[in-house]
């Protein structure tokens, strides 16, 4: 019984929150890593693109709700996702035409393109605020919980409770589905193989007749789809606030770099690694230890929660020192 209580405490406070957060980071990092791998630059505008996409989702959600269309227990936002992805992808393709294409043509150094993306970031930043404002918006509807703490206690008779929010469950399911779809696409389809070929060796890919413009377009569309999903899931799970999407850029990049930039498997692993270390290293294990029969004198907390952000950086630095290409051998341009 005590063993179960320890397990439930661990699940409720460490495993479930860290998994949901990790999945959101992983989706974001996948987008960053795809753009890095294929378009060969670190896209600083990614966080604010997530914010813009989520703003589109919110506007469409409000529209659907006004028409009386909902998804029952699921958030209506899921229904608004595909059209919002289309809108945001259209904007990204326009940005590519107006900004990035020029730098590709003149074969600008990667750092120049990165700086251009910082400019795009500021524009996106302002655009999002003009469209939807700076305030906090809660757009999750439907059932809030799959299981609440009191329900769980009643069901199991344990002293410890466990809660699973609908948004956490949806986050994990959607993240798993989209990762699976992405890998099938990259490994099994002609277009996916063309993208990988282009990423591996641009000149060779061009020689074998791969249309570079098509690859670029596809990359943007896929990266935007991932970004909008990540942003929406994050906004559903917490609340939407334009500023927070700028903040989340840091852990997303940390995840992508730790996993190995340009490597999709690495991005996913990196996302979960960052999320789990943030939560697990700052979690006081006292309660769990007590259920396991120990009698700790302190809280058994390795680091104060103030150091949460520092953890991502320490992992980042250690990885860069010991294995600069990242855990899963990304590439460096």
């Amino acid at each position: 019984m005590d063993l179960l209580n320890a397990l439930v405490t661990f699940l409720n406070f460490v495993f479930i929150p860290a998994s949901a957060y990790g999945a959101q980071l992983a989706l974001g990092a996948l987008g960053v890593t795809l753009i890095y791998g294929i378009l060969r630059f670190s896209n600083f505008a990614h966080g604010d693109t997530m914010a813009f996409g989520t703003a589109m989702v919110i506007l469409l959600t409000w529209g659907l709700q006004a028409l009386g269309i909902t998804l029952g227990p699921l958030p209506t936002a899921l229904l608004a996702l595909p059209p919002a992805i289309a809108l945001t992808a259209a904007l990204a393709l326009l940005t590519d035409r107006w900004v990035y294409r020029h730098y590709r043509r003149i074969k600008a150094a990667p750092i120049v393109v990165v700086m251009a993306s910082v400019g795009v970031m500021f524009v996106m930043n302002g655009l999002t605020r003009i469209v939807i404002g700076v305030g906090e918006i809660n757009f999750a509807d439907g059932a809030r919980f799959v299981v609440t703490v009191p329900q769980f206690r009643e069901m199991t008779g344990l002293t410890e409770g466990l809660s699973l929010r609908t948004t956490q469950a949806i986050t994990l399911v959607i993240a798993a589905l989209s990762v699976w779809a992405l890998f099938v696409f990259l490994n099994r389809t002609r277009a996916g193989k063309a993208m990988r070929a282009y990423a591996d060796n641009e000149d060779l890919a061009l020689l074998s007749g791969i249309d570079p413009d098509r690859v670029v377009r596809l990359t943007w569309i896929i990266a935007i789809a991932l970004a909008v999903m990540a942003g929406t899931l994050y906004g559903l799970d917490k609340t939407f606030k334009a500023f927070n999407y700028f903040q989340i850029l840091l852990p997303i990049f940390a995840a992508a770099i730790v996993g190995g930039l340009g490597n999709p498997v690495g991005a996913i692993a990196g996302g979960f690694l960052i999320a789990f270390s943030e939560v697990a290293l700052t979690y006081p294990w006292k309660k769990v230890a007590e259920y396991l029969g120990f009698e700790p004198s302190g809280l058994l907390q390795m680091l104060g929660t103030e150091y949460k952000l520092a953890i991502s950086f320490v992992i980042l630095i250690v990885v860069l020192l010991v294995r600069p290409t990242g855990l899963f051998r990304g590439k460096a341009y």
Partner: protein, 394 residues
């Protein structure tokens, strides 16, 4: 054209003996940033007092008072210094209602207010550090120091029979000062603190903080933070994971926005914010309603009083120069003299013009003590039935 200008100037000089002025007062609040939902009613309240005085035509022989708003962002000290600098040097204001948050108030006071000899009356900066700051008599506040709020909160919690609590505070001057004063007051009363940890505002995720607080345990969670920021993130996480169902809120959290966000989930929670009861407060709320805003919002009353004190002190000193009227602020705020409530500013101005003393009570029962800060009346609130109820005044 030139001749015409000179003629008008001569006419103007000879016409008004004592010269009515166009006085400008600055309002330095965080219109954007972590307290952006609190700023509008505060600014409205300060402008309400200015309008009342202007309409009466009794300040310094019919001077008019206009407001100049400046966004100090609350969180960014550099932005606040720039905003106050603009008020002082380019807008040439005669006094400032502000700052709003403790950190930026300290910065703008030390770097702009004191060097330029500008009177600043802060309605909501509550850090204990401001009690002892070297202000050369230019700084006052109509809110009490958090050292007092910490004691009141410890009293409320003890009276409700809670023995152990965890504390989560926002990582800045306000949060740290308040948390420390509460912890020492609560421990002195025999309570125990299971954990006293900071949370950073504007973070992506608060699972780690909530997990740590949950593991430390306690009968309630004290949230010393901001409702538009991490404070609400912590509450959301704690409610969802079932870590706590009783919260104790400080003045940065006790707002309508909190009720809008959480509603009935706060059934067992309570809190306190500085706010007086009584005739003055009721009069102010009625005035505010007429002017089209909610007077019971946090720090609205204190903002009205800050603006009123500046103008009354000007009248008492017979000058709109901050270097002169600063010495009169304490006189008009405290006894002896006739009590002045909101809506009676004209009466106060008349009495002062006649050379009599007044005791400005205002909307928040102003009584300035020590280095010019409010003695501190707090109202205790709870959230039974999903609405904000005032239970008692302390």
């Amino acid at each position: 054209m030139n001749r015409f200008l000179i003629a008008t100037a001569v006419l103007a000089l000879t016409a008004g003996g004592a010269l009515a002025e166009e006085i400008k007062l600055g309002i330095s609040l965080g219109f954007t940033g972590p307290l952006e939902s609190m700023a509008p009613p505060m600014a409205n309240a300060a402008e309400l007092a200015m309008k009342e005085v202007t309409d009466s035509g009794k300040l310094l022989d019919g001077s008019t008072v206009t407001a100049v708003r400046a966004d100090n962002t609350c969180a960014d000290a550099a932005a606040s210094v720039a905003a106050v600098e603009r008020l002082v040097t380019s807008e040439r204001v005669n006094g400032i209602v502000g700052g709003m948050c403790s950190g930026e108030t300290i910065a703008s006071l030390e770097r702009v207010g004191v060097p330029n000899g500008m009177v600043m009356i802060a309605p909501s900066a509550t850090s204990p550090a401001l009690s002892t700051i070297e202000d050369k008599g230019f700084f006052f506040r109509t809110s009490p120091s958090d050292a007092r709020q910490g004691e009141v909160m410890a009293d409320i919690i003890t009276d409700r029979g809670l023995k152990s609590v965890a504390v989560s505070y926002t990582n800045n001057d306000y949060g740290k000062g308040l948390a420390d004063s509460f912890v020492s007051a609560f421990e002195a009363k025999g309570g125990s603190i299971t954990m006293n940890a900071a949370h950073d505002d504007g973070k992506a995720d608060y699972s780690a903080e909530v997990a740590a607080l949950a593991a430390a345990g306690g009968e309630a969670l004290v949230v010393a933070g901001y409702v538009d920021q991490g404070g609400s993130g912590i509450v959301r996480g704690a409610l969802d994971s079932g870590a706590f169902d009783t919260f104790v809120f400080t003045d940065g959290m006790v707002t309508q926005a909190l009720v809008d966000k959480f509603g009935t989930e706060l059934e067992h929670s309570f809190g306190q914010n500085p706010s007086a009861e009584g005739e003055g407060r009721d009069a102010f709320i009625a005035l505010a309603r007429e002017a089209g805003f909610e007077g019971s919002d946090a720090f609205a009353a204190e903002s009205y009083d800050a603006a009123a004190l500046i103008m009354l002190a000007m009248q008492a000193a017979g000058s709109s120069d901050p270097r002169v009227y600063k010495d009169k602020v304490m006189d008009v705020a405290n006894a002896p003299g006739e009590m002045i409530n909101p809506g009676e500013l004209a009466r106060g101005l008349e009495l002062l013009a006649a050379g009599q003393d007044i005791d400005y009570v205002g909307a928040s029962a102003v009584e300035l003590v020590g280095g010019g800060e409010s003695a501190g009346t707090y109202r205790e609130v709870d959230y039974k039935g999903g609405v904000l109820n005032v239970v008692a005044t302390r």
